[in-house]
Assembly symmetry: none
Homo-oligomer: 504 residues x 2
Amino acid sequence: MDHLMISPTSSSSLVLETPPTLQQKLQFLLQSQQDGWVYAIFWHTSYDDNGNLFLSWGDGHFQGNKDTSPSTNSHNYPILTQLYNERRKVRKGIQSLINDNDNDNSIMDHMSSNGDLNDAEWFYVMSLARTFPIGDHHHRGSYSLLGKAFTSGTSIWVNSKHELQFYNCERAKEAFMHGIETLVCIPTSNGVVEMGTDVAITENWGLIQQVNSLFGSDLIALSHTKQPNPIQFFDDHNISFADIGIIAGVQEEDNSTPTHHDKRKRSETRDNDISGVKLGSSYVDSEHSDSDFPLVTASNAMLEKRPPKKRGRKPGLGRETPLNHVEAERQRREKLNHRFYALRAVVPNVSRMDKASLLSDAVSYINELKAKIEDLESKLEKESTKKVKVETADTTDNQSTTTSTVEQTGPSANGSSTSSSSSSSVEVEVKVMGADAMVRVQSENTNHPGARLMGALRELEFQVHHASMSCVNDIMLQDVVVKLPQGLRSEEGLRSAILTRLEH
Amino acid sequence: MDHLMISPTSSSSLVLETPPTLQQKLQFLLQSQQDGWVYAIFWHTSYDDNGNLFLSWGDGHFQGNKDTSPSTNSHNYPILTQLYNERRKVRKGIQSLINDNDNDNSIMDHMSSNGDLNDAEWFYVMSLARTFPIGDHHHRGSYSLLGKAFTSGTSIWVNSKHELQFYNCERAKEAFMHGIETLVCIPTSNGVVEMGTDVAITENWGLIQQVNSLFGSDLIALSHTKQPNPIQFFDDHNISFADIGIIAGVQEEDNSTPTHHDKRKRSETRDNDISGVKLGSSYVDSEHSDSDFPLVTASNAMLEKRPPKKRGRKPGLGRETPLNHVEAERQRREKLNHRFYALRAVVPNVSRMDKASLLSDAVSYINELKAKIEDLESKLEKESTKKVKVETADTTDNQSTTTSTVEQTGPSANGSSTSSSSSSSVEVEVKVMGADAMVRVQSENTNHPGARLMGALRELEFQVHHASMSCVNDIMLQDVVVKLPQGLRSEEGLRSAILTRLEH
DNA sequence: TGAAACACGTGATAC
DNA sequence: TGTATCACGTGTTTC
C-alpha cells in the first residue's frame, strides 16, 4: 500500500477519454523528481450536465513519503484501504452523490477533526471524488486553485502552510488541513496536474517543464478547451484559438507576434515556455529570493479575441523590448499578488477579500499585536522585577529596545548591515586565527537567526568546529568557530560575506 | 521672534502678483485652527526662463509650537535670526544661486546633521529660497508634493513621519529630517498652501475648505492655472474649469454635501456636486473610517498636461460613464496607495521602498510579532506558575532550569525516543519539557549538519532558545533547546519531523 | 445598469 | 543599456 494507485487505466474498467499512459506519466513524474513529492493527480476537463466546464479526477499516483516512516503509511489505517477500494468501485456513483462541494467539505472536515488520520494519504484518497468548476462564478481567488491554474494557464506553486491556508480555495484549505505544505497546479492542454507533499519544496522550473513535455502532447478532447459560452469573434471557426495555441506550442515552437495583450485564456502559455524560456531567466525574485512567487509560465498572446481593430503590428516596435516589458510587468504583478496572498495568510479576520481592506486590516492587526506585546512586556517586566529583586537592570534595557523596534525606522543609520528585510540590527564580528576563525553574531531573535547563520556558513563552505547560540530577551547571540578554506583570510571580507548571506 | 514673518508684502518692497492680504490670510489660517500648526507657506506659481511652470515662495507665516517650549524657539539661535534677515534681504539673489535642488539639498543635509538646529524653524526659514518644478518630468511621486498637489488639484495630507519619509519627494524628506510630522499641501488657483507641524494632526476637511475659501477668491493671474501646453478640450474657453470650481466652492459655501468627503478636486467634480451629487454618496470609505486616505479633493484630469495624442474625444462616449470609470480607478489607486503608506508607517525596517518588499516585510514583521507574543505569553505563564510557589516541582523545575543548563540535562540514556532508525549514522533524540523541547542530534560532520538542523528547525518554526554544537573526530554533536508551537508535543512526532527534514 | 475590484498593456523614470 | 518600479487608462467580471 505504499504506492497507492487510483487509476481507472490501471485497474478499473471505466473508460475515460484519457490515454492509457496517464498513470505511467504520473508515476514517472513522481519518481524522476528527487524532491519528496507525495502524490500527483491529473485532473481532466469535462462538461457537467449544464454544459459547464469542470475538472474531475483523471488519474493519480500516491508515492508516500520518501523516508517511509512506518507511522505514516497506510497499513496503519485498514479503514483507508477499505474505503479506498469501496470508493474506487463506486466512484461514479459517489461522484454524483457528493458532487456538491458542501457535502464533501463536511466529510473532509470531519475527517480532519480526527486528529490522527488527517495526513496526505487521506487527502489523496478523498480527492478522487472531488470535482472543481472552471471559469464559473470565479470571484477572483474564491474558486479553486485548479480552476485558476487552468483558466489562467499559469502554474501555481504554493510552498508554505501559511500561504496555503490563506487561499480561499477549498482545495487549498483542505490540503492545509491534511498537512500538505507544498501544492503545485500545472495546467495542461486538457486538465491540470496537481502535485503535493507535506514538506516545503521551492519552485522548480524544471518540474513544470517536465509536466509540459509529458502532458503537453495530449491533444485529445481539444474541444474541452473551448469556452462553454461561444466566443463571438471566432465562432465561425470550429477550432478555438486556444487550441491553435496548443498545437502551435507542440509542433511549432514558435511564438512571434507578441505585442498585444491578451489575457491569454490559457493554453498558449505553453508555447512561450518552450520558445521563450530565456525570459524565465529574469524570473528570479531578484532581491530576497523568498521563493514566494508563482512561477508563472505565462505570457504570450496572439490567440486572443481581437476586436477587429488595428490589424498588423504596431510600426517600429523592436518586438523584443516591449515583449520583455509586458512580461516583466506581468511578473511584477504576479509577485505583488503573491505577496498579497502571503499577507492574507498571516492576517486573521480579513474583513473583505479586496486588497485595500487587506492592507488596512493588516495595519490594524499589526497595531493590535504591538499593543499586545507592549502589554505583555510590561506585565512580564513587572513580574520579573517583582520576583528577581535586585537585578542588573540590563534585562529591562534590552526589553525596552526590542519593544520599540518601530522607532528604529527613522534614523536607520546602522552601520553596514541594516537593509535586511527582516531583522534589524545585526552585528557580526569576525576574528581570524590561522586557518580557523571565530564568528560572533548578535541579532534579534527573529527569522531564525541560527538557521540563517548556519545557512550562510554552509554557502561559504565553512566547516563548523564549534558553535553555541543563546537567546536572552529576544537577543540571539551566536558564537561559531569555523575552519576556513584557504585563500579567504580577510576579516572584513569574511564579515561582509557573512553579513550579506544572513538575509535569508 | 516667536512669530516669524517672511513676507514680501509686509516689509519688503518687492512687488509680486500676490495680493497684499496673503500674509494676513496665512496668519488667520494658522490662528483659526486649534491644532498645533507650526507654519504656513503659500507657494505661488511662476514661469522660469524656459517657460516652465514652477512654484516659489509667495508668503509664509511661522507660528511656532503652541506650547512654545523655550528650547525650540528661535531666540536660542541668534544665528537663525541673522541668517533669516540676511536671506530675506538677498532672497532674490539667493534664489538664483541655489535654485539648483542639489545644492540646496546638500545645505539642508548638512544642517540636519547638525543635531540641534534641525527643527521646524530651520525648515521654515530655509524654505524661502526653495523652488519646485511643476508638471515637469514628474515621475509620479518623485517630484515635489507641492507640484503634485498643484497639478493634480488634490490636497495631500501626510501625518506620520513614516509616511513622510516614504515619499521620494525632496520636500517631504527634508520636512522629515527637520522633525516635521504633519505636512499638508492644498492647491489653490495660483499656487499651493503648505502647512506643517511637528505633531501628528489627522485629516481635517474643514481646514482644506477654509483654505479654499480664503485663497480661492484670488482670481488674479488666472493664466497660471492654465497649463503651459494648451488643453485641447477647452482652449476655446478662456476660463478653466478649475477656476469655475473655485468660484463655485467659494460663493456656494458648499457644505451641503457632508456625504461625499474628499475626493473631487474642485472644478468639475464640484459642478458634478451641483448636478448629480448623489454619485458622491458612495465615496465613503465604507468600512473602517481610518481616515487614512488622502483627502484628495480631486478628479478633474482635464487640467492635466495631456500629451498631444488623440485629438478630439472618443466617438460615442457618453462622457460620464467612462469618465467616472477612470476617476473611480484613480480613486481606487489613491486609496490603495494610502493604505500602503499606512502599512509602511507601522512596519519598521522596510528594506526597500517598493511595494513588494513592503508586503513581504510586513508579513515577516507580523510573524515576528506573533512569535514574540507567543514567547512572551509562555514566559508570562511560566512566571506566573513559578510565582505560585513550589508546585508539583518536577516538571516545572525542569522547565525553568533548562535554558541555562542544557547540556547536563540529557546525558543520553533517556527513556523515550532514541532507539530506532539511526541508519545513516544520524541520531536524533527529543525530550519535551512543557512548551520547550531539547533536541540532540549526533551525526557525521558532513554536509553541514549544523545548517541542516537549523534549517529543519526553521521549517518547523521552532524558536531556538539555546544551541551548542561541537565537532570532535568528525562526529558532530548538537544540542538545541527550542520552543514548541502549541499542538506539537509528541516526542516521537517531533523526532521524525526533524529527521525527515535533516536531509537537505 | 452602474459601482467596485482586478488585471492588463503601456509609457515614463530611476538606478 | 537593461532592469527595476510605478501610475495610468482601459476592458472585464463580479454583485
